[in-house]
Symmetry: C2
Subunit: 245 residues, 2 copies
DNA sequence: TAATGTAACTGGTAGTGACCACATTACCAA
DNA sequence: TTGGTAATGTGGTCACTACCAGTTACATTA
């Protein structure tokens, strides 16, 4: 891990500095609620202008690593060890955190013409086709959720079952293969009752209470990318979000 | 509505500019996905340095009003008309958006010694007292949710029933009276079953499915401020979040 | 002793000037 | 027509400078 700034690399200095500072925080070198060196001290320490220092600190404040107090200093946030929200809404990571082994059964993976409601959400013209992925999500081998994803991929942009099984993460495929970086999402949650079909797949009684989670994912430029509907077993799942403003 | 920058006010120029730009976006003066004037043009238009221009634009990008494209320009985000998340997690605002009239019955409002689990969440020593507010939330006059808030207020920091009824918003009181600005929150949602007492208050059958929402609110410096538990009627409530990363 | 004021910190705001990296366009040559 | 290329306009990065606005500690004063 670099402890000094390399002025010759293509990596911006503010980014390098932010990495160095983040490292010190994560290593526990700076304790929570303790002040980091003042901006003018950092100026001397790393031989960087205050403009750049502030840019680095700004980004860490934004990410929740630091907080500022006018006239007093900049302090280390008591960290909750949480990564970005994408990790948290990633089903697999989520389960691992709860000490369960994630798994999935891919029920279907194909290009389809979805219900008009889905097209409307994805802001696509009527008659468009999208990629649909139906999965049963497992925790320690037993069903936990029933997930249907609709991806706004142009014809020609395809995902194979091998890719899904190899990476396991749909978001990694979106990122690496199609250069789509999800940045925002709208989610709703409500309670519903299991239909006979859903009950069978989730191995619960018909009429059992379920948690219904719908998500609309947006990319960098705010274009809708994915519409997902997930039905969770009410007795085996707890939804978690971390909100920042 | 200020359409020009006042250099003499205490309000920072970047903030004034951000307000002006936000206004133009909200008024629809600039269409979604259309470019706003370039940073160099704004420099001339408002007689402000590019440093300040960028600071204003940065904040609007952060808030989701604009997005940048390197080499092309800065563009208006297709807005979903959503304010900050605090407004959305505010029960009243939430209901209004759905076309219902919000209401509440304050069942109790007092300083108590809460269960140890609550103290632990609020990072307070055993034996501490907190402010507890129990409310029934109404939509169009009928019960929708059962809310219990625990506030980490020091003895002496009190809230009166009149204040609660006058402002209606707990967060406004926190902000204006105690200068506490909530900036982050952890929330969980899960499905539960109504106990007889809960069923009576919510006017549903015992055993009816409910949506249980727990929230831990943090202030600027990441100190836990409020722990809330809300039980929603499963048939009358849908939880909504907007996520950014 | 207690009040107070001031100096020396902290982060916050703002301007200027320079150069880099990327995208688009117009134009020219093959 | 095609393909390269240079000009130009965009946001991205960085340095240096100046002053404002809170906070704190300590010396001074009443």
């Amino acid at each position: 891990m670099s402890r000094t700034i390399d002025p010759f690399t293509a990596v911006p200095k503010y980014f390098q500095l932010a990495s160095i500072l983040r490292q010190k925080i994560e290593d526990g070198e700076w304790a929570p609620r303790s002040p980091i060196p003042s901006e003018r001290q950092l100026e001397v320490l790393y031989n960087i202008s205050r403009t750049t220092i502030r840019e680095a600190i700004d980004s860490l404040v934004q990410q929740g690593y630091l907080y500022r107090e006018h006239g007093r200093g900049t302090f280390v946030s008591p960290q909750k060890l949480q990564k970005g929200w994408m990790d948290l809404t990633s089903f697999s990571e989520d389960l691992v955190k709860r000490g369960m082994k994630p798994g999935q059964i891919i029920r279907s993976l194909e290009r389809v013409e979805p219900p008009p409601r889905v097209l409307q959400r994805l802001e696509l013209p009527l008659g468009s086709t999208v990629y649909r992925i139906e999965r049963v999500r497992l925790g320690d081998g037993t069903p936990i959720g029933l997930q249907t994803s609709y991806l706004a991929l142009a014809p020609g942009q395809e995902i194979t079952q091998q890719e899904m099984e190899a990476t396991g993460s749909l978001y990694r495929i979106l990122n690496e293969k199609f250069h789509i970086i999800p940045t925002e999402a709208d989610e709703t949650l409500e309670v519903t009752i299991a239909t006979p079909e859903e009950a069978a797949l989730l191995e619960v009684a018909t009429g059992a209470p379920l948690l219904l989670n719908e998500r609309l994912l947006f990319s960098q430029d705010r274009r809708p990318v994915e519409y997902v509907k997930i039905l969770y077993r009410g007795d085996r799942y707890q939804y978690f979000v971390h909100l920042k403003r």
